[in-house]
């Protein structure tokens, strides 16, 4: 079922008088940059999920907070939907525009406002890039821990909106664990401070609620993050295995030995060969799976843990265990993993990246099932996996120019996500729901749970004008989607009418 906004199942959007909107914006916010010509709008028609595109009604590029507030107030008065956007690197279509909506681009708010070394915090504007925070903190020996693969380009406002992860989550947590405070503007343009410079704040934990809410509850205008002292040292071990199951078991063994690695990543043979071809990281191309295990901290502890992990890996049946001999080799080992997506991209004209999570013990069974689905749909699947925290990124290879292949890739992806839910996992670990996984939300949550999500939304945006259609599907969409997925003769949401 198509994921582009469909008013029949996603809800009727108010009709917008474009001329009036444009006139009002220009009259009340004369300094505001507004794009409205067809060719100006083109670059904004998608985010990182580029298979889906919609031309926005207008793009606004504010430079001052009072302009953001003004845009929100005007859109609220005129009942115009607003889609917030950061750097546009999101992989789930969370910033996919609406034909009847304004795209609010926050990228120009790119100042680091204050680094407080003694308090170990950084106060930044939402358009600051993730990596830029660590770079600014580096002179103080500090850094910002969450490191999504897109960290060179993605902005912190988007990281908060998506609760972004990365390869170091098991030890250092997600975005939500590394925030102190965010400033937001509500749909009506009211200012709220969530969290504080202290470690907690009175009232409900709205900071946690807003983190990962995908721009549905408010627009983030400032972020205060926690900084950590840089680990003294980091070492990487690379272990090769002749079967995926053994590699999966080794992950559990490392944790059972009482060790929490800074990063613990797994790749299967197709991903290994693609990465090696592309980066020449020195990966063993005949291995069925490799594990990359990074241990970081104080020198003496890391040394001891490397020895422990080596022993665990050998006992788990690794055919080879190598420790990066110097910093250059450590960086090379990681480069292979961090470039796994573009590397796989070289094998195929297009690929579709999934983001399901599973309890780690389910890994062997899930990988077998993915292999079977891959054969059934006749599409290759490469697997890279944040093994430490159970977050899988199967990459489905396809060619969008071949009729039907995108549909098949999507159908296969949907099956993989439903499989994740079935074994007790989630349809998305870090990329978000956006529009991409809007249908699979119907598999993860029942109608009562979705209804409660809509109630949360109504507490902050009763008119449904902020990023409509993202994150939480309507019950009608689920009914429509369910009609195509009748489970064991039982139609989900039987009480709802079908379209």
């Amino acid at each position: 079922m198509n994921i582009l906004y469909d008013e029949r199942v996603d809800g009727i959007l108010p009709d917008v008088d474009l001329a009036l909107l444009l006139h009002t914006l220009q009259a009340r916010l004369p300094g505001l940059e507004v794009l409205h010509q067809r060719e100006e709008l083109k670059p904004y028609e998608c985010d990182g999920l580029s298979a889906y595109r919609t031309t926005p009604l207008l793009v606004v590029l504010p430079r001052h907070l009072d302009e953001v507030q003004g845009v929100l107030q005007i859109c609220h008065e005129l009942r115009v939907p607003v889609v917030p956007r950061g750097a546009g690197t999101g992989l789930s279509g969370g910033a996919l525009p609406l034909e009847k909506g304004v795209l609010l681009v926050m990228a120009r708010f790119n100042n680091i406002l204050h680094i407080d070394a003694a308090a170990r915090t950084a106060r930044v504007q939402p358009g600051v890039r993730n990596l830029a925070i660590s770079q600014a903190a580096a002179p103080f020996g500090l850094y910002y821990a969450p490191d999504p693969s897109s960290q060179i380009a993605c902005s912190i406002g988007g990281n908060v909106a998506e609760n972004a992860g990365g390869v170091h989550c098991l030890k250092y947590g997600l975005t939500v664990h590394n925030l102190l405070k965010v400033e937001v503007l509500t749909v009506e343009g009211e200012h709220l401070t969530l969290g504080s410079d202290a470690l907690d704040s009175p009232g409900f934990d709205l900071l946690a609620l807003f983190t990962g809410s995908e721009g549905m509850l408010g627009v983030i205008t400032e972020v205060t993050v926690k900084l950590l002292p840089k680990p003294q040292t980091a070492k990487v071990l690379l272990a090769a295995f002749d079967c995926v199951e053994k590699a999966g078991r080794a992950v559990g063994d490392i944790i059972a030995a009482g060790i929490i690695p800074g990063g613990l990543e797994m790749m299967d043979n197709l991903a290994i060969r693609a990465a090696e071809d592309f980066i020449h990281a020195g990966y063993p191309v005949d291995a069925e799976a490799i594990l990359l295990c990074e241990l970081d901290g104080v020198e003496a502890d890391v040394h001891d843990d490397c020895n422990r992990v080596r022993q665990v890996l050998e006992q788990a049946g690794a055919t080879e265990v190598r420790q990066a001999k110097d910093e250059a080799e450590r960086v090379r080992f990681w480069a292979g993993r961090k470039n796994a997506f573009p590397a796989v991209g070289r094998l195929s004209p297009d690929y579709y990246c999934m983001d399901g999570t599973i309890p780690r013990r389910e890994l062997p069974g899930v990988l077998q099932a993915i292999a079977a689905l891959s054969a059934e749909y006749n599409l290759r699947v490469a697997n890279v996996f944040h093994a430490g925290d159970g977050n899988m990124h199967p990459l489905i290879l396809f060619d969008a120019n071949q009729p039907g292949e995108l549909d098949r890739a999507e159908a296969l992806g949907g099956k993989i996500l439903e499989l994740c839910v079935k074994v007790g996992g989630s349809i998305t670990g870090e990329h978000g729901v956006g529009r991409e996984k809007i249908n699979q939300m119907c598999a993860q949550f029942n109608s009562d749970e979705l209804t409660l999500f809509h109630a949360v939304k109504a507490a902050f945006d009763p008119g449904g004008l902020l990023n409509p259609g993202k994150n939480i599907p309507t019950l009608h969409r689920c009914a429509e989607f369910g009609a195509m997925h009748v489970h064991m003769g039982r139609l989900p949401f039987p009480e709802l009418e079908r379209f």
Binding site: D197, G212, E449
Partner: protein, 353 residues
């Protein structure tokens, strides 16, 4: 792991909530009632969660434990101990606290600035809602960004948004080495040193100044703990100090004057407030015993960007720091949406919700 006392009593809890919904009867959600001194008094029928108890699942290699709300924290700690694991946020037990109360209050112990709070370890919850449904949010996986994060929202909400019946928590291996020391330092210099040490990769996992001495806990591998001990020096301290601090068993907490909890930016200098103070969380949490006026304390807190909670029951009308009007309006909206009949712990957090 399963015990005779284990019981899935969620049907009874759900039934009592549905009854209460029908007649709009306010409910006072109660586990062991170990934190009755916190928050505003609630007039309502008691919803006793203690019968719904037991560890539902625990697989140490998955680093996840799932327990029912009535499970005593001591039982949770025992199961984790056996696998050499722990709940790093160190929720205080106050004698016999339950898992449900731990989530509702969100209180965390001395390790909090370095490890994160109770909410940081919440992965998923089951909740009885104000619509009379028993629903599941989040799950048992480390990473999960599907839908709004209602599980973490429940932590610290004092039961006013729903009844948490079950929770899945991330757990971690215990550190290999643990050593506590105490140093002769006045509070001003202690805060300066803590700010300096905080920027270095030292294995500090607790830091408290009792007015006389700075107490530090070091946790990590053998090498890092030994090196830090050598560098910082000081006298050895028994590790039971941290339990006594967490459980309010230190003599400081012997009640004479009203007790206030101050939460503030960690690098706030020593505060000139009447009464006596104890600095915890490396500076970010301070305990104040004082007869000072509520408004005075709150003003000082507002100036430094912190907030104050009154720990003496009934002393002030709003023990939690009052919220700005706009923020309070959204609190009311959320309460209204999630508990439209207003039956869950009405008024426990604020009179308005």
């Amino acid at each position: 792991m399963h015990k005779e006392s284990d019981l899935d009593d969620s049907d009874r809890l759900l039934e009592q909530v549905r009854q209460a919904l029908q007649y709009a009867t306010p409910l006072r959600i109660q586990g062991a009632n170990s934190k009755m001194f916190l928050g505003r008094p609630v007039a309502g029928e008691v919803l006793d969660t203690r019968s719904h108890r037991g560890i539902v699942s625990y697989d140490p290699t998955e680093l996840v434990i799932t327990a029912r709300c009535g499970t005593p924290l001591s039982e949770l700690a025992q199961a984790l101990d056996q696998a050499q694991q722990m709940l790093p946020c160190e929720p205080p037990s106050f004698a016999d606290a339950t898992v449900g109360g731990m989530i509702a209050s969100g209180l965390s112990g001395p390790r909090r600035p370095w490890s994160g709070s109770v909410r940081d370890y919440v992965l998923g919850t089951r909740v009885i809602t104000g619509h009379g449904k028993h629903l599941r949010f989040g799950g048992e996986v480390m990473k999960n960004v599907a839908g709004y994060d209602l599980s973490r929202l429940m932590a610290g909400s004092y039961g006013v948004l729903g009844v948490v019946t079950e929770v899945s928590l991330k757990v971690l291996p215990k550190p290999r080495q643990c050593l506590s020391i105490s140093l002769e330092l006045d509070p001003e210099r202690a805060l300066l040193r803590l700010a300096e040490w905080g920027q270095q990769p030292l294995p500090i996992s607790a830091a408290c100044h009792d007015g006389q001495r700075l107490h530090i806990r070091l946790e990590g591998g053998d090498g890092s703990v030994a090196a830090a001990h050598e560098r910082l020096g000081g006298e050895l301290l028994d590790s039971s100090y941290w339990t006594d601090l967490n459980e309010h068993q230190l003599s400081f907490f012997d009640e004479t004057q009203p007790l206030w909890r101050l939460s503030l930016p960690n690098n706030t200098p020593c505060l000139a407030l009447p009464g006596t103070q104890l600095i915890d969380w490396g500076g970010a949490q301070r305990w104040l015993k004082s007869d000072a006026d509520e408004a005075f304390i709150r003003n000082v807190m507002a100036e430094v960007g912190g907030h104050a909670t009154c720990y003496r029951h009934g002393l002030v009308d709003s023990p939690f720091q009052p919220l700005p009007d706009v923020l309070m309006r959204y609190h009311r909206n959320l309460k209204q949406q999630l508990d439209p009949r207003g039956i869950f712990n009405p008024g426990r957090l604020y009179a308005e919700c």
